[in-house]
Amino acid sequence: MRIKEHPVIDFSKKKGRKVTIYFEGKPIEAYEGEPIAEALHAAGIRVLNYTPRGRPRGLFCAIGKCSSCLMKVNGVPNVRTCITLVEDGMRVERQRGLEPLPQDYHPPKWKDATKTEGDVIIIGGGPAGMMAAISAADHGAEVILIDEQPMLGGQLVKQTHKFFGKRQQFAGVRGTKIAEILKEEIEKRRIKVFSRTSAVGLFQDGDKKMVSAVRNNKELLEFYGKAVVVATGALEKMIPFENNDLPGVYGAGAIQTLMNTYGIMPGKRVLIVGAGNVGVILAYQLIQAGVKVVAIIEAMPKIGGYFVHAAKVRRLGVPILTRHTILRAEGRDKVERAIVAKIDENWKPIPGTEKVYNVDIVALAVGLRPSIELLHQVGAQTTYVRELGGYVVRHDDMMQTTVKDIFVAGDSSGIEEATTAMLEGKIAGLAAALRVGKADLRAVNEVKKAHEELMEFRSGPFGARILEGLEKVMIK
């Protein structure tokens, strides 16, 4: 089902040309510009594959970071359908366990990869990466921006709420709008943007850095630069409970992608697990899209999210149950019910407190962990910091990692939020421009200013924990 009316977004303007894809032989209506899994969801298809043990699996992260949506597309197995765009006439089939490779005896015609050179290579086109690109380009650095998604903006493209903070940090502006503004700023500059391009390796190449990437799942690209900013964001965490892999148990971000980016109804009735910022904001966005939120449950004794957001969803009649956990999801091939219970001080469910919710979606808003794979591969030192979401790379106050001339910014340097990601991106972009010899003293002053803004932002209620975490990763 597709969203007909939305108070914030006009999807009729965004929709691409209508095409037909074939799901197990059956024609499905889809629109150019949307990924396969999202189009299937709109058509009511929840089960995308079966594991080798026969368990049904559906969408989970919707940004290409987990492997829950792998399907056979035109006979090729293991395709990440959540970020592979539909094409007219495409044949899509459920994958059943491990599938054979297509019988193809034609070695690919090998041609040397296209080489692109620049000063600064930025991996990730979210708020951190976009700001890094803009800042570095402003100081005359030749910038290359690589992003895996079909559109720039990272997670901003699904943030329909207005941001907090100061005016220069886009306060009062919706995330979707910020993405548009930053995209326009990037277009104004001589930044080489590569969308639908997955960076698959980060290497030292003498004094230079080399990034190998694959565009549209088939074309190998080589990028050479003097500095690299890794702004690869985060991935959604999973918590253990019975049937947590049942189709319909979705990451909060996946639900936002479906409804806010592609205008697809995620479901009819939703239970949200986690009352942090993401959980409460998601509840409000679901209500905006016309979806019933039956409850938000939270294992902690109090709500983690901003008070104003929580108050708003409560006013709209959504109960927020603290000290509650999900015991299991139930349903045949997809979520039909969720069973929750109260927990005691030892986090054990209290017998007799079970509640049954009839829902078709369980939304997990239980936190994120940094995507540090490329940094890990290139040998950057990592350390485990709970406050920042898991393993993070060590970095200094210029966002440089332990590998010289490789910088990190945004959620990939520790889970925080879009405003701080933009500020960190700015610092990393400026630092990289300085490093490649393109920027001057003005950049140093801008870094100073960005540091001050970061400090100010982190002095808020959520900052204390972040500062504690940063204390553990900072190289002094």
């Binding site: 197995p77 293991n78 599938e99 490779l101 005896y105 080399m210």
Partner: protein, 385 residues
């Protein structure tokens, strides 16, 4: 864990060679401890290409590998660790020229002499074994169905289990700082966690062997070279059962990993001598290029991981195994040149025979540590997969 202060034998190095040696020693009733700088398997064992083959070109490696395969086949049972399985899925060398066919035919004759059922087959037969290979350029193949592969993680786990049952102790994150000796008799080791007295020390540190040897002023030509490997996403098991090898295309070796179903493999591209273990783009690109020539359908499957490890190389690519003359009680089994995992069962049986009885029925002279100073290099072992 509190360390013992004395033992009969101290094995330095907790890779497949050290652990397997400790296993034979403990089974013979020796009190043995294994000292490992990091964690068991972390050096080269867990980074290996998983292949186990008998298709060598000399009498010694063929016989040693024949013995190894006998042991690999029964290892799960022997260690009472049924999770471990030797997959006897064969090795398939693709041959593209008359010269290649001639040299492999010669090897096959030698292998057959020692009872290895290898044979030269037609491209069509090769395709029956691996239906996905492109045979348009292949002229023949060298095939041995009794070669195979095994998962090194499970092999190490099985050995650790067995060592525990035999009361042999393995000390991880423990580094040997000094080798204690009185005159020319070794007396034990001084480690980062204290001293252990023992009259017998086995250097099983492979790539790191020269560091330990230097503590006694000894020199055997073993140098670390960086090699790399990759693994792909998994797909249906048994599409690529044997190890497939092509010298024409990058010196590539590849097979589906026993437990995951992803393709594991590498190409012949080495760097060194070096201690650097960062991965290189060139390797990744050459893998993509060469693997897809051998099995074109691999163009549809993404690589998920690339890593580097050491080949502890000697000038003739054969290991250094035996008693060290200069110091009584000091033995070496190192420098396996990329064949440590596959050779481990027989090579360790051999060195333990030498330690306990001064001799072995296996052709251990071939790996004589002093052949280099005598200028008696062996014919270079086929160094592949």
């Amino acid at each position: 864990m509190k360390m013992k202060s004395k033992a009969d034998v101290v094995v330095v190095g907790g890779g497949i060679i050290g652990l397997f040696s400790a296993y034979w020693l403990a089974k013979s009733g020796e009190e043995v401890v294994v000292i490992e700088k990091k964690y068991p398997g972390s050096g080269s064992t867990f980074r290996c290409g998983t292949g186990i083959r008998q298709q060598f070109g000399d009498y010694a490696n063929i016989q040693m590998m024949k013995k190894s395969v006998e042991i690999w086949k029964n290892l799960g049972e022997m260690l009472e660790f049924p999770e471990f399985k030797f997959a006897q899925t064969g090795y398939l060398f693709l041959l593209y020229s008359d010269e290649e066919i001639e040299s492999f035919s010669k090897n096959v004759r030698l292998q057959n002499k020692y009872g290895i059922p290898s044979r030269i087959i037609t491209p069509e037969e090769a395709r029956e074994i691996v239906p996905l290979i492109d045979i348009s350029e292949v002229k023949a193949a060298s095939w041995n169905p009794t070669d195979g592969k095994a998962n090194p993680f499970l092999a190490v786990r099985g050995l650790l289990n067995a060592l525990k049952n035999l009361n042999a102790e393995v000390y991880p994150y423990t580094e040997v700082k000094e080798i204690l000796h009185r005159g020319n008799e070794v007396k034990g080791v001084k480690t980062s966690r204290g001293e252990i007295r023992a009259d017998i020390i086995l250097n099983a540190t492979n790539a790191w062997a020269k560091i330990l040897n230097e503590k006694l002023g000894l020199k055997f030509p073993i140098e670390p070279y960086k090699h790399q490997a990759v693994i792909t996403e998994p797909f249906k098991y048994d599409e690529i059962k044997p190890m497939v090898i092509s010298f024409k295309y990058g010196g590539a070796y590849l097979t589906q990993e026993v437990t995951s179903g992803g393709v594991i493999g590498g190409i012949d591209l080495k760097y060194g001598p070096t201690w650097d273990l960062t991965t290189t783009y060139k390797f990744m690109r050459e893998i993509a290029k060469n693997f897809t020539h051998i099995i074109p359908a691999l163009k549809y499957i993404p690589l998920i991981r690339q890593w580097a490890g050491y080949y502890a190389e000697t000038p003739d690519h054969n290991a250094v195994i035996g008693k060290v003359r200069e110091y009584d009680g000091y033995y070496i089994a190192a420098g396996f040149s990329g064949h440590g995992f596959m050779l481990a069962p027989a090579a360790t049986k051999g060195i333990v025979d030498i330690i306990l009885h001064g001799k072995s029925d296996l052709p251990m002279d071939f790996y004589d540590p002093y052949r280099f100073e005598r200028g008696e290099l062996r014919e270079q072992a086929i160094q592949m997969g």
